[in-house]
């Protein structure tokens, strides 16, 4: 058990490439911290530096109060679970799990006892004398976990331990890891590129991008108050929708309609000095079928018409996809990076498809025109140049909702897509037209 303190850690490779830049973070004793980010963001490098498998270029790393920069991995008292599990193929499960203890010259009976205890926890008892080659993926993963827990180390480091499992097993193992960590109470640093794992497992999540730490916060905080475009786009599935917006006459004009800005937010946007262009972020669940919104709630947002391209019903929710033909889409380096990471860039999908998550009771049908409501209170406004979340500063000051709907009447005044196709009328071939 120990706390891990990363104090201005920087990693620069001999060829000059900067992998991790000025990473500072305190990980409390017993905490479960997730490092998350797209591939190449430096999260694994950070983990390897904590493990001692990579040298730290500058900064200080303390584990349990001791500076360990110069210590070799074996003197750091940490256990690591690798993405490939890295089980020793020539050893049985028992030998794999006991290897660290054997190297530490632990008496044989103690090793046996600890290995059997761990095997019992992980349900591996009947596999103890088999070799890794004869085990299934899930069993191998558990052996890798077992190898870590028998040592009772100061900290667990996990490098994408679930990414080689199939989807179903991954969810199951995820809960197991969570339970195990709570039971053992060992400080854990977990690296993943999967934001679902990050959100479900961690006490705190650290989002990284190109070697720079973006935000460290609890999953809820990260979701509700992302500090910048990158975090907003990375966290959440399906991800946040981004629209370009313009500040005009104190209103925020978007292709979905006009929103009134609070005084503070307007000042914030203007004082940033990047002009009147902003990026507006809306989470899919902040949309709703207008007919299902209670009249009391309606004034908190605006309604608009859209032609639904695709509808996916998951039983509990309904996802609808539509495009805003007029929207130019948003341009931002951070969003481009996200798109590339998720494969959207390569898939040729346009960035301006909007995803909305609606109540399962909705009667909206695919290919038809629908009236949707958008919750203005939950919108985020980003500065396109810096990516900073401008609404965050305002809402933190206790101003309440940063954005209000202008009014129910003026809110619907501009139903862009619908106005072109005939408002309220079912449009045949609407999906085709919208694309």
């Amino acid at each position: 058990m120990a706390e891990i303190i990363l104090d201005h850690i920087t990693k620069r490779y001999p060829d000059g490439a900067l992998a991790v830049e000025d990473f500072t973070m305190d990980i409390a004793d017993g905490e479960f911290v997730i490092l998350v980010g797209p591939s190449g963001c430096g999260k694994s490098t950070t983990l390897n530096m904590i493990a001692g498998l990579e040298d730290i270029t500058s900064g200080e790393l303390r584990i349990g109060g001791q500076v360990v920069n110069q210590k070799s991995p074996k003197d750091r008292d940490i256990a690591m679970v690798f993405q490939s599990y890295a089980l020793y193929p020539h050893m049985t499960v028992r030998e794999n799990m006991g290897f660290a203890l054997k190297l530490a010259k632990t008496p044989k009976d103690v090793i046996n006892q600890k290995v059997e205890e761990a095997a019992r926890i992980l349900d591996l008892t009947q596999h103890l004398d088999r070799r890794p080659a004869n085990l299934s993926g899930g069993q191998r993963q558990r052996v890798a976990m077992g190898r870590a827990i028998v040592r009772d180390p100061a900290a667990f480091l996990m490098d994408e331990p679930l990414s080689n499992l199939d989807a179903k097993l991954r969810v199951q193992t995820r809960t197991e890891i969570s339970r195990l960590q709570r039971r053992l109470g060992t400080t854990t640093v977990y690296v993943t590129h999967d934001q679902t794992e990050a959100m479900t497992l961690g006490d705190r999540v650290a989002v990284m991008r190109t070697g720079v730490l973006q935000q460290v916060a609890s999953p809820k905080e990260l979701y509700e108050t992302p500090v910048n475009l990158f975090v907003a786009g990375f966290i959440g599935s399906p991800s946040m929708n981004f629209l370009s917006g313009t500040l005009e006459d104190g209103k925020l004009r978007t292709s979905l309609g006009d929103f009134a800005l609070s005084e503070r937010l307007r000042r914030e946007v203007e004082s940033e000095g990047t002009g009147r262009e902003v990026i507006v972020g809306v989470r899919p669940e902040n949309f709703e079928d207008a007919s299902l919104v209670s009249p009391d709630n309606r004034p908190n947002g605006i309604t608009f018409h859209a032609s639904i391209d695709v509808l996916e019903s998951l039983g509990s929710d309904v996802f609808v996809y539509f495009t805003r033909g007029r929207d130019q889409g948003v341009n931002s380096a951070e969003l481009e990076e996200l798109a590339q990471d998720s494969g959207r860039g390569d898939a040729g999908g346009t960035g301006d498809t909007i995803v909305a998550r609606l109540d399962a009771a909705t009667r909206i049908r695919e290919g038809h025109d629908a009236e949707l409501w958008i919750d203005g209170r939950q919108m985020h406004v980003f500065d396109p140049a810096s990516g900073r979340n401008l609404s965050l500063a305002v809402s933190r000051e206790g101003d309440g909702a940063a954005i209000r709907a202008v009014s129910p009447a003026s809110g619907t005044a501009e139903p862009p897509a619908a106005s072109e196709t005939g408002s309220g009328q079912p449009v045949s071939g609407g999906a085709g037209e919208a694309t």
């Binding site: 493990a51 498998l53 890295a86 290897f99 190898r147 040592r151």
Partner: protein, 279 residues
């Protein structure tokens, strides 16, 4: 991929070609075996199959120290040279496969250079060096050059094997508390064992088959190896050529090679090609 279709004609063509190639390779060997079973009087008999079979030649060579002692030398020198070469080659290959260090390409280049160097050109200088160092006509006098020429082969074969072992295993061992040496001995080396066996076989065969160094750096049967010793067989009188005993000795030392190759065929091929295709 489209299956390659062969017409009966093509098949027949291939069959004939294969037969000719195999016959060309095997006839001298079979001729040698045949000679070894012929009586001294029948050596000049042109028939392929001996008219009268005899173990006499084998009895003769195995009953004199002129062959038995060199056979022991061959086995001893071969095994020692192989072990030394494999141990050093595996350490060097591991470094080459895993580490970045100044002079790495020079090391690889030197190894290749040694492998390419015409051995005959080295015989005279090495003869003089060995004589002045007192290594001439000793086991070390043969072991050292065998190790030197076995190393490049070993380094090349083994580094290809090491490169295929996932690096994460070594990281895992380090995190588990192993020193780099322990990680190598307990994790990496056991996994590279097939590669080491292959290398050992190749190096041993090279030592076993060597004639040039064996004849140049030895003067008595105390260190002369079997291939060289056959040179010194004498006939029953100084006017008879000891064809039978030589054929018997040659057949005798070929047996281990055949056994090796039959047993380890796959390994040897893997070892020879692993660097070429995957490396």
């Amino acid at each position: 991929m489209a299956a390659i279709t062969t017409t009966p004609r093509q098949k027949a063509g291939w069959g004939v070609t294969n037969f000719v190639v195999i016959a060309l390779a095997l006839i001298p060997v079979l001729w040698m075996v045949s000679l070894s079973f012929k009586t001294p009087a029948a050596v000049l008999d042109p028939s392929f199959i001996p008219s009268q079979w005899t173990w006499g030649n084998y009895d003769q060579i195995l009953s004199t120290s002129q062959f038995v002692r060199p056979l022991i030398n061959s086995i001893g020198i071969g095994i020692i040279a192989t072990l030394v070469a494999v141990v050093f080659a595996s350490m060097a290959a591991y470094a080459i496969a895993r580490l970045r260090f100044p002079g790495k390409s020079v090391l690889i280049g030197m190894a290749l250079l040694i492998a390419m160097f015409p051995q005959i050109a080295l015989v005279t200088p090495m003869f003089n060096i060995e004589r002045s160092l007192g290594l001439f006509n000793t086991w070390p006098g043969l072991i050292i050059p065998y190790v030197a020429f076995g190393l490049p082969l070993g380094i090349y074969t083994l580094s290809a094997f090491f490169r295929e072992i996932p690096w994460e295993l070594e990281k895992a061992a380090k995190v588990d508390g192993a020193t780099p040496f322990q990680a190598f001995v307990k994790v990496i080396a056991p996994l590279a064992a097939p590669g080491m066996v292959t290398t050992a076989i190749l190096v041993f065969l090279a030592c076993w088959n060597d004639f040039l160094f064996a004849i140049s750096f030895t003067s008595t049967i105390s260190s002369r190896t079997a291939p060289a010793a056959m040179e010194y067989f004498s006939g029953s009188s100084q006017f008879t050529v000891p064809t039978g005993p030589i054929a018997a000795a040659a057949s005798f030392i070929t047996i281990p090679i055949i056994v090796f190759v039959l047993f380890f065929q796959r390994r040897i091929v893997a070892g020879l090609t692993s660097g070429a295709v995957k490396g």
